[in-house]
């Protein structure tokens, strides 16, 4: 009459060559269904259905890997995942949800055909991977900022995807792309001497795509803070977009191409730490070794670069910070970017930096480790769900009564600015390093 089957079939049926089947075979342990990941999953808490939980998605992905369900059957529910990896942080069994999720994205990328694929590639390869095109887009946005050519630009899905339209009021004003470079001196930081500081500390700054084009102020601030701490900062030429968005969209070949370019670029500065201020790029670049593991010529170089990657807060945390002197009298809430707290396990370091600023009051934001809903192009594909996730964040932010919310990732900076303008809150959005830079005269 009825049967209770094994949770996993007696013979693991994941013989395929799909990325998912490979990921399933590579996993050392499988989900034990304990459910500890449920309460931290933003989509589960909004929707309250098992298939929108990490446990449910893993079960669906396992079933696809084993050939029990078709990819198309699970695409909808798995597609609602933010990729925030809060579930990995919560999992007591150490299940690597992200690896299954990414493998599925790859399989879906390979399956994507026709104009959808073309559209994805236009954005990823045509814009993000090309600094000049991206800068042109940002220049257009500056025009928008100043002249209000709203209709023209709002009709462009491209700009919405970059997420700038309608949010600029709360963000640092868009500088002219690359203008920040002129303000920063690269080379020996002023007032330090390699011979007296016991050997100059060196670092190379990764500039990225969106950060470089739209958040030059953050780069300038990063360089300023590094200089104030006696770190000589290089800016290797030839670096590109990190490739994370390409990989997440299943465009692995493009991601690998970009990774190789970055590896070559940063090899020109020896073994200096690679410092980033974008959590998403950092999380991805720390995994270059895995990305290029199957490429014998590049695998060791990729692993070597990955080992040098440091988020700026992580980089500063292992040194004794030169005490910042100028007071920044603000109430500040810190919101953890998923790619920092969940993907890199960094949550204490940025808070410590903020606490070091004289006059600044750090306010703990409830659920600060929850995704804000930005997650790349997510808000375009799931506007309602993304809206609910963001609204939840905004409720906490409103209750915190702060002047500034600080977060260290471009997508989050944009998303929080959007939420704030939607709710009409009086809160500014800043990268923590910008606040720290203010404290160094």
């Amino acid at each position: 009459m009825t049967a209770i089957d094994l949770l996993l079939p007696a013979e693991p049926k994941a013989p395929g060559t799909s990325h998912l089947a490979q990921a399933w075979r590579n996993a050392t342990s499988h989900c034990i269904k304990c459910g500890f990941c449920l309460p931290v999953c933003p989509t589960y808490s909004v929707l309250g259905v098992e298939a929108a939980s990490p446990r449910g998605r893993l079960d669906l992905m396992d079933a696809v890997a084993q050939g029990r369900l078709a990819l198309g059957t699970v695409a909808g529910r798995v597609g609602q995942c933010l990729g925030c990896l809060a579930c990995e942080t919560a999992c007591p069994a150490g299940i690597r949800y992200g690896q299954m999720f990414e493998a599925l994205q790859c399989d879906m990328g390979t399956q994507r055909r026709g104009w959808r694929r073309w559209r994805a590639r236009l954005l990823l390869d045509g814009v993000l991977a090309r600094p000049r095109v991206l800068r042109a887009v940002v220049l257009a946005l500056r025009v928008y900022q100043r002249s209000g050519l709203q209709r023209l630009l709002r009709s462009s899905g491209l700009l919405r995807l970059l997420g700038l339209a309608g949010r600029e009021g709360r963000l640092p004003p868009l500088p002219r792309p690359l203008a920040w470079r002129a303000e920063v001196e690269f080379g020996a930081p002023p007032g330090t001497d390699a011979t007296t500081t016991g050997g100059a500390q060196r670092a190379a700054l990764f500039t990225g795509c969106v950060m470089d084009a739209a958040f030059g102020a953050v780069h300038a601030a990063t360089a300023h803070v590094l200089a104030a701490n006696g770190v000589q900062c290089a800016l290797p030429a030839g670096q590109r977009c990190c490739g994370a968005l390409h990989a997440h969209a299943g465009e692995t070949a493009s991601a690998r191409r970009l990774a190789r370019a970055n590896i070559a670029a940063f090899e020109t500065v020896g073994d200096a730490p690679v410092v980033l201020n974008s959590a998403g790029c950092g999380a991805f670049m720390k995994r270059y070794g895995t990305l290029l593991a199957d490429d014998p010529a590049w695998a060791p170089r990729a692993a070597a670069l990955a080992a040098r990657v440091r988020d700026v807060s992580e980089f500063l945390a292992v040194r004794t910070l030169v005490p910042p002197t100028r007071a920044v009298a603000l109430r500040v809430a810190y919101d953890d970017p998923c790619h920092l707290v969940h993907a890199q396990g960094i949550s204490r370091e940025p808070r410590d930096l903020l606490r070091a600023i004289p006059g600044l009051t750090l306010v703990e934001l409830p659920e600060s480790t929850w995704c804000c809903g930005s997650a790349g192009s997510y808000s375009l594909q799931h506007p309602e769900l993304a809206g609910d996730v963001l609204a939840r964040k905004m409720r906490h932010l409103a209750a915190a009564r702060v002047d500034v919310v600080a977060t260290g990732n471009p997508g989050c900076l944009l998303q929080l600015a959007l939420g704030i303008s939607r709710q009409g809150l009086d809160v500014d959005v800043r990268h923590p390093i910008e606040l720290l830079a203010q404290a160094y005269p």
Partner: protein, 482 residues
């Protein structure tokens, strides 16, 4: 037309389209819970928003003779929420409101979908200094409704009792859709204890839709100690000594040698290699007299050859100790494809013997085993890593489970301390009760659910003379039912 095609539109009319899940992917993931079992496909899953909607769903199910399964967070490990045959699953994620908190009456009222930990957070935020005590290992996830269904325990049930000791009243939708209230807020209820009957019935007698529970003031002080012993029997004797001395710790947890070694690799507590067992002891109560109590516990442990006794000096140290206990399940799971968590009790003074027996049973089958115990109440949890791709190993684990349960019953213990029966221990229930006793329980079940529609094919032994629910045994090796 299939039953699904008939029911789904009607359910959608009752609850709204977004409260009825019927797509393949959505149904697929309701076949499991946190047990090692996987059940059948379900007809549909409904997400009611209130008691009235639950009653409507149950009435519709009754008209079409469709079984119903009330489901919390799916963290049960006995397979109690695993569907067996066409069924409607009632998912309570939208019924998660805390309706009232009355510190003066020391009670709270809520819907079944409230997560145990969320209730505690809510109570703590209110600032009255009250809490809800039962703390199953799954408390951050599991719902109060699920806790009630399984009569959940936890580390603090030694002193404070299991869920049943904290539930004052319930609102229940019976199998025919009638809504009834049992028990209530007042201290004494003459007549039969129907609340007690429903708590722990695993959803087989009706669907609980509202819960009134006791809340208790937080203790003034809480102190955590770690005591290390050369072997399990020394630790178990110390436990007996503590209890016999009239001391009632809030929690008394035991880890055996293999468990300590495994856990220490993740949460560094620094369990020394020469220790054969660890006791984590928590005392709570008034600050006054706490020192004396701590000293007495230390004396008793020393009298039983304790190697070392430490009192946690900071919140961080306390947290690390407890983490080493709470992380045990996950740590065990991360070392093997999956882990089979067992649950049984023995009289407290036989704990060492029982653990030795478990190790012997597992060794004989080439199975690894690590042991945890809520030592204060003799509740033992052997954890057995299993690779289910290995059919022989899965079968061995099933056999080992049966033998361990038989051993505990023979020692005067029980086949479950806090996890319930579900589908896992249906056969083993027969180890505890004879045919007359089982028939008596089934008469109660039939009185409340004559057509066997509430979470069918659970709890009672499936082979043998049990009428319309004789469908066969569930087993880890995926054995088909007759």
């Amino acid at each position: 037309m299939s039953k699904r095609q008939i029911l789904v539109p009607q359910l959608q009319r009752l609850l709204g389209a977004d409260a009825v899940l019927h797509a393949e992917a959505d149904r697929f993931v309701y076949a499991y819970d946190a047990s090692v079992f996987r059940g059948t496909d379900v007809l549909a899953v409904v997400l009611p928003a209130n008691t009235e909607q639950v009653a409507q769903v149950v009435r519709l199910a009754a008209r079409h003779d469709v079984p119903i399964i009330a489901r919390g967070a799916g963290t049960g490990i006995n397979g109690g929420a695993v569907p067996r045959g066409d069924a409607l699953v009632i998912e309570f994620s939208r019924m998660n409101r805390i309706l009232a908190v009355e510190p003066d009456n020391r009670l709270a009222v809520m819907e079944p979908g409230v997560v145990n930990q969320d209730l505690k957070a809510h109570l703590s935020a209110l600032g009255y200094g009250f809490t809800y005590v039962p703390d199953p290992g799954s408390q951050v996830v599991s719902t109060i409704g699920g806790n009630v269904g399984n009569n959940a325990g936890g580390m603090h049930c030694l002193k404070y009792g299991v869920t049943a000791n904290h539930i004052l009243g319930l609102q229940v939708v019976l199998a025919d859709g009638e809504v009834v209230e049992v028990g209530g807020g007042s201290a004494t209820r003459p007549g039969m204890d129907l609340t007690g009957l429903l708590v722990g019935s695993e959803g087989t007698l009706g669907v609980v839709t509202r819960i009134t529970m006791r809340i208790l003031p937080l203790p003034e002080t809480v102190v955590t100690q770690l005591a290390l012993f050369p072997d399990v029997s020394a630790a178990a004797n110390a436990v007996s000594g503590i209890m016999a001395a009239g001391i009632l710790p809030a929690a008394l947890e035991l880890l055996d040698r293999r468990m300590m070694a495994l856990v220490d690799r993740f949460v560094h507590v620094g369990y020394p290699e020469h220790a054969g067992a660890a006791l984590i002891i928590e005392l709570d109560g008034l600050a006054d007299g706490m020192d004396r109590e701590l000293r007495r516990v230390a004396e008793i442990c020393n009298a039983h050859a304790a190697l070392e006794i430490k009192t946690a000096q900071s919140a961080a140290e306390t947290e690390r100790l407890w983490l080493s206990r709470r992380a045990a399940y996950g740590v065990a799971a991360s070392f093997s494809p999956t882990v089979y968590v067992m649950d049984c009790t023995v009289p407290r003074n036989l704990l060492a013997q029982a653990i030795a027996g478990v190790i012997e049973i597992c060794d004989a089958r080439g199975l690894e085993v690590v042991n945890l115990a809520h030592a204060g109440d003799g509740n033992l949890h052997p954890l057995i890593p299993v690779d289910r791709a290995n059919a022989a190993q899965a079968a061995a684990a099933t056999e080992a489970h049966h033998e361990i349960m038989a051993m505990c019953v023979a020692m005067g213990g029980s086949i479950t301390g806090e996890h319930g029966v579900g589908v896992e221990k249906q056969q083993e229930l027969g180890l505890m009760y004879d045919a007359d006793e089982l028939a008596g329980m089934q008469a109660v079940k039939r009185a409340l659910d004559p057509d066997g529609r509430c979470n069918p094919h659970k709890i009672f032994p499936l082979r043998g003379n049990v009428g319309d629910i004789a469908v066969g045994a569930a087993s880890l090796d995926g054995g088909r039912l007759p």
